[in-house]
């Protein structure tokens, strides 16, 4: 059995070599171009980047996506061509063919290494062609997978219109002690300071989360990003912001430092426990007493019982590749699972502070040890640990899934969690649907006698 001494969350952090497998952060274009429907993403990189995109995105590439590679050739690398002219030419072509309202340049490892000054070229070309050009350095030197979205949103945050405080009628404060709480909350929706949520989610989930807050009398004044560039929310001093995904620490920093917004640090709305804590925190900041939240959460838990009975007391190992790991582990521990290890590419302890606190509390409530949290894991070491621990389920990338399955270890492909709808109360079932799928499948096959399919 895996020995984990009785440790506090602070002591459970480790850092390994960083030799782990994950997607390149440029993969964020695949969901962001769909989310921001009038955008065009130009990835400035090499054949390697292009090959990754076309293979990882599979069928999407055939649907004339609104993204392309600016493929650097030998002459670009050796500076025989003038990169300003080259980019101007490509962007004019994009403008002509697609006429987007926004072009996002994705800087890659190569543009970093040859020190291509995208930030200073963008405004000049923007002026020449008349389309806003944003620069996001979503490269593999600095970031992993979902952090790509973080770099893009942080660039977009700087383009959001400025918020001008309107005259807020402060007289509502005198109603604060009014006995009629319902009418107060209805009123509240118009009088609390503006709230902008950040993180790219599918439009359905945006609707669901917005409605969830509206039920508490909280009005969401905008999302970063919106589906259209022109609809970006106003930002500035006096605006409160709150993240919906754990990998958005850079965006949070930009919103605080550059746009002077006030960050609401909350756990993330993943799982009914996370969603409830998220709403509670926002309510608390706006001095709203949450209404009916307890019941709502309990109802969701009740509806999950069939799935929970499948995973209760089962052990879990996160190899770590998309930064959702802490939130997912926290939810699954609440479901009764035992988590051996949470691998994670990068751990921002400040941005995830509330989430970590909730994890600690959850472990205490469920009377389990706090799992070790391994930042920048080493996949080779992890596989040795998996071999000795024999967890019931390993959440991992596609590079390791099949080899582990062949060795009789059940796996769940981690990337699915980034593409599935997992936020809010109503989607908790989807997370469990994903988590239990391999267990359900293997339940069907378990009596066949061929769970290990390799000679070692």
């Amino acid at each position: 059995m895996y020995k984990n001494k009785d440790i506090t969350i602070k002591e459970s952090f480790e850092c390994e070599t960083g030799n782990y497998h994950t997607f390149c952060p440029i993969s964020c274009v695949s969901w962001l171009y769909q989310k921001i429907s009038d955008s065009f993403f130009l990835v400035i990189g090499t054949k390697t980047c292009g090959y990754f995109l076309q293979n990882s995105l599979g069928v999407m590439i055939f649907a004339e996506p609104r993204y392309a590679m600016a493929e650097l050739e030998e002459a670009d690398i050796s500076a025989k061509l003038y990169d300003f002219d080259e980019l101007k030419r490509l962007c004019s072509q994009i403008q002509q063919d697609r006429n987007p309202s926004l072009i996002v340049w994705i800087g890659t490892c190569t543009t970093e290494i040859i020190k291509m000054d995208l930030e200073s070229m963008a405004p000049k070309i923007e002026e020449l062609i008349g389309i806003p050009i944003l620069v996001a350095r979503a490269n593999g030197l600095d970031y992993a997978f979902t952090q790509g979205e973080d770099t893009v949103l942080s660039a977009i945050a700087q383009r959001c219109p400025k918020y001008e405080p309107k005259n807020i009628n402060l007289s509502f404060l005198s109603f604060k002690n009014n006995k009629n709480k319902i009418s107060l909350q209805q009123k509240n929706s118009h009088i609390h300071p503006p709230l902008v949520l950040f993180g790219s989610l599918s439009n359905t989930i945006v609707q669901q989360l917005t409605l969830e807050l509206k039920n508490q009398g909280i009005q969401v004044s905008g999302w970063l990003p919106e589906t259209r560039y022109e609809e970006l929310p106003e930002l500035g001093p006096g605006v409160f912001v709150c993240g919906v995904n754990p990998f958005l620490s850079r965006t949070a920093t930009t919103l605080m430092r550059r746009r002077k917004c006030q960050l609401i640090g909350a756990p993330f709305p993943i799982g009914p426990d996370g969603t409830r804590a998220w709403i509670e925190k926002i309510c608390k900041v706006f001095n709203v007493i949450p209404n009916n939240l307890d019941k709502r959460e309990q109802k969701i838990w009740n509806s999950l019982q069939d799935y929970i009975s499948l995973i209760k007391n089962k052990s879990l190992f996160f190899m770590g590749d998309n930064l959702l790991e802490i939130s997912l582990a926290r939810f699954l521990i609440r479901c009764g699972m035992i988590v051996y290890e949470i691998g994670i590419p990068y751990m921002d302890k400040r941005f995830q502070a509330s989430e970590l606190k909730l994890l600690e509390q959850t472990c205490k409530d469920m009377k389990v040890l706090i799992p070790r949290i391994v930042e920048k894991p080493d996949n080779y070491n992890q596989i040795q640990r998996i071999k000795s621990l024999k967890p019931d389920l390993v959440v991992t990338g596609l590079a390791h899934s099949n080899p582990l399955e062949a060795r009789g270890i059940t796996t769940k492909w981690s990337v699915e969690f980034t593409f599935a709808q997992i936020h809010g109360f109503s989607n908790a079932r989807d997370i469990l649907e994903l988590i239990t799928r391999p267990l359900r499948r293997n339940n069907h096959l378990k009596d066949l006698g061929w769970s290990t399919l390799i000679v070692e």
Binding site: G18, N19, H21, T22, F23, C24, P25, I26, S27, I44, T46, K47, T48, G50, Y51, F52, Q54, N55, S56, G58, I61, F62, A68, M69, A70, E71, L72, E73, E74, D76, I77, L81, D83, E86, L87, L90, Q93, I94, T108, C109, T110, I113, N139, G140, L141, D142, Y143, A144, Y380, I383, G397, L398, A399, H400, S401, N402, P403, A406, L453, I454
Partner: protein, 516 residues
Amino acid sequence: MKLAYWMYAGPAHIGTLRVVSSFKNVHAVMHAPIGDDYFNVMRSMLERERNFTPVTTSILDRHVLARGSQEKVIENIVKKDKQEKPDLILLTPTCTSSILQEDLKSFVERASQNTNSDILLADLNHYRINEFQAADRTLEQIISFYMEKNYKQNKEKLNKTKEPSVNLLGIFTLGFHHQHDCREIYRILKDLKININQIIPEKSLVTELYKIKQAWFNIVPYREIGLMAAEYLKKEHNMPYVSVTPMGLIGTATWIKQISNLVKKIDNEFNLIDYEKYIDKQTRYISQAAWFSRSIDCQNLTGKRALVFGDSTHAVAITKILVQEMGINVCSAGTYCLQDADWFREQVQGFCDNVLITEDHTQVSNIIAEMEPAAIFGTQMERHVGKRLDIPCGVISPPIHIQNFTLGYKPFFGYEGANQIADLVYNSFTLGMEDHLLEIFGGHDVKTVITKILSTDQELIWNNDALKELQKIPGFVRNRVKRSTEKFARSRNINEITIEVMYAAKEEADDQNNKN
């Protein structure tokens, strides 16, 4: 800079990794940033590989940029040596890390002082060559390294095997139907009483590579990978090779003849089976393909127009099969292997109306839209173009998807391969009953081309009666009739399509067919 949406051939390091991970007990260390190890996903998913892909990344991050990667790379190599005890570790940069121009050669030398494994550096220019060229080069590099190593160590002199034997060069991971092709080659060689000495690199040991010389000669079935190694072995070790692709009945016969001739040339005494007789028997009685193309069902294929696009090996072989063995008219044959353009042109000369050499998939799709062939034989990209244009497509070449890594036995080579190809071709064309329905509604290939681009926008209006009439046409030909009618309408500047227009279109199509 080039605006690119899609590419046929991958970057160089993919080719190198394919070769390296095909060998048994060889490990690759990639010098690359996070995320460049996507190769591991491809191998694990497409090939449904049960083993961990023997590729580790020595991560290139901000820290490394500042300090250089020397210690880290060496450390990672030495660590891999201890962990996996491979026979060979090959260090490869990617497009990105190759720009750093670090002295990787010296890292390799330093690392090899502390390892039991041999250490090599993939010797490539990542901006000049593609996946196939890199694979070709890496295979040659590894083979020549071990041939020379053996020579230096003066291991026992090796004699040729008593019975005729061959090496198979270029069977490897993520190849298009390589496993099946390899088994089919083995079967034919067995019939010919020729042994396989080594299959390289798939599941072979680098420590055994020096035994290559025991074989009488080499076989290189795919042009893209293995020719360089075969040339090296010919030049340095006096081993002849056969580079014909045994695809199609004629191709397979030529291949067998060349092999038999080589055997005779090397040892005239050897009692080889009568290969002429063997070929004749296989072609006429064992294989179904020859009979199939004579059967009356296949008459309808005569003169049908097809477009072929793929790597040079497969595109050439399929073009020849379609024309020579099935009587199909290849309107355009093309390849994305620019490095092999001259050979390709020479091969398809006289077999097709038009040769297409390009790496740009939009150019290929525009030509398909313009030519409107009755069927396409191409890569997954052409399959998708075909879907949009409603033209059937058989996949005959990489790049491919997971569905092309079939579990069942589906070779492209040899006599069983000829059967498989015949099935593929037959299923790709619309035949029989369907064909007659097309005749009735004039939906045949129309020679004039109105729209040259792949576009679906149109301002044509179908009136109610015409729509009803269109609905009466069986579903599987409806789209084609719709398109040919619209094409006709456009050519006459007709905006509204009525029943009259439909029949006029049909009549014109009939006229066209009569003239041809």
